[in-house]
Symmetry: none
Subunit: 194 residues, 4 copies
DNA sequence: GATGAATGAGGATTCATTCAT
DNA sequence: GATGAATGAATCCTCATTCAT
């Protein structure tokens, strides 16, 4: 069916984009990886840009579905952070190529074409979700009060998402296990308590 | 003097590379930013590749000078980590463009041309410095023993370097202050102790 | 019936060719206008070229049938010109798309492929019909003698055919009425004064 | 000098566009005719579109300079028509390629890109200049009253401009001589008989 | 008769690089 | 040291055409 083929092609394209970077990837490389000629891709997609667009949109849609479920669950701040981190690692597991692309190219794409305006929106929505939870946690006395909250936000956010650059699905640890260890480090630190 | 001009041009180039990505930056954009024509750059540099090369080499040379001094100082594991992190934020402050380029392009460049083999070396040398210290700390009972050490390494490493993507010199916090807060989070976590 | 479908498709194609130009028209645009997919057209026609070919051939065949009848009628030069002009406007009315295509593309197509040699033939045959009649009129003292006859020929010819570029069937004036007015302008100019 | 080279290249491009049509002309053909490689043209011009744009703009600017001088001269309707026609043939003589391009491509270009909006403007301005003069002539009793004035307008306009499709500079007749004969044909047709 | 998917030959455009002046 | 002009390879994309189903 049409949709299946598109999906396969997008998965292939995402892999190549993630490995080489969007700009450095040629349409021909994608086509080679898909076993067709470069021109043939244009039967399925309007442009190279349309391909990343679809890849990123699909990923963000799924991500927000997960995040929204967490945020709507009425958990405490610490539990919310735990759930968001776990959900994030699950997304990295399922969409690792899309996540890597998002990490490397989002800024560049966003200020290159209005079509990618939703990437800037996503950035803002992220900030609201994480920052809001952190602030709530500080107010509730669950998180430390002596830290710059924006620094903390960036620390937590980047720490999680950067993992997409080295994580490969099927690796030693499951996403849940990685999430558990990351959370342990972020929440309690790596220094041994006395 | 000849050397000064080169230095200015490299600083300009680094800024543009960092802002737009190496591939997406055209030689003409660099020339524009430097107030000359594209062809004129070739009086100073052999190629676009030679420019990134010099930028990254200069940065890494300085970085290793700092790291080596720390590693040779005979500090304990925790103090070594603290010193490496502080040194890293100082480099981000002084060479933020070069650091950003290194973060975004190192893998890609290393794959692409043997000339950039030293980037892969640097990666390995990093791993040795950080991982070694962490292992020493675990052995000494300074760091937790219940964590996957490679995960911890990546966590600490990424946590620091990713900052280059948003850090701008002259910002609210000094590099030392940022280092202090990061270390506090990494070592002790963000959760409030009871 | 097979022939009817072909005819409809050709009419559609002619409309699109006339509106956008032969080169600028894609097979897909024709197919869209006909409510089918691009590939499906190839069941009916061998190629895009074959389509224009058939469109132009059909038009020219009909045109020559009309012209030949006029030329065989043994009219005087003035009456022959009147009849040719009237016949021409009738063709513009019935085949306005084909006429527009002929006007815009004939030279280009004739240069490009021997298959369109008949377009150059048509040009020569036109010249013979009109020029011959004009020369006869000059000799008979019906038309002015002080004009360059080739210039006159082009004037009359262009004057008529260029109308295809703006004429739309079903407009205010019937083709006969337009012919009458055009003839009035043209003839009272080139006709010898008393 | 820079401007001279551009001018030469534009003249070359205009010739090729006129001969083959804008769409059917490849950038390589222009480059071949100019004795350079296709890519080299882009040092001088931003795009193929920019080339036609400049060609048409230069032509129209000159044309309107001539027309405006005529229209401002305060001549009677008949003399105005004579002057406009003569001016037009002079433009055809000097810019025959640009005129041919304008004739064949104006409509197509105008509704393809807003950049060519000035072509539609030109069309309207033409209509005002010619139609206005004709109406004045009808009112003054200089031109016939029994003709559809819009038909007359198209007749005069097309009759003149279509000449660009066959006129080659340096031909048997000077532009002034052609204008004289055309006017003789046209005027003695539409002028009121005594 | 028609569809969906692909082919493959261009075509416009970009850009690092060269080099005479 | 810098400029202007050009090169040529690579890139994205278009489109007529084919063909199995």
């Amino acid at each position: 069916m049409r949709e299946e083929r598109r999906g396969e092609l997008l998965a292939t394209a995402a892999e190549v984009f993630a490995a080489q970077g969007y700009n450095a990837t040629t349409v021909r490389q994608i086509a080679d990886a898909a076993g067709m000629l470069a021109g043939s891709l244009y039967y399925h997609f309007a442009s190279k840009e349309a391909m990343v667009d679809e890849i990123l949109t699909a990923f963000l849609d799924e991500l927000w579905a997960g995040y929204d479920a967490v945020l709507a669950a009425g958990l405490g701040p610490r539990e919310t952070i735990e759930a968001l981190v776990t959900e994030s690692f699950r997304e990295i597991d399922r969409h690792h190529a899309a996540v890597a692309i998002y990490q490397k190219e989002a800024r560049h794409l966003a200020d290159r074409h209005p079509r990618f305006g939703y990437l800037a929106d996503a950035r803002r929505r992220f900030a609201r979700a994480w920052l809001g939870t952190l602030e709530r946690g500080v107010a509730d006395g669950v998180f430390r009060t002596d830290l710059d909250i924006r620094l903390t936000y960036r620390f937590v956010r980047d720490t999680v998402w950067v993992a997409a650059s080295w994580y490969r699905p099927g690796a030693r640890h499951s996403p849940e296990e990685i999430a558990r260890q990351y959370l342990s480090m972020v929440l309690d630190g790596i220094a041994l308590r006395d």
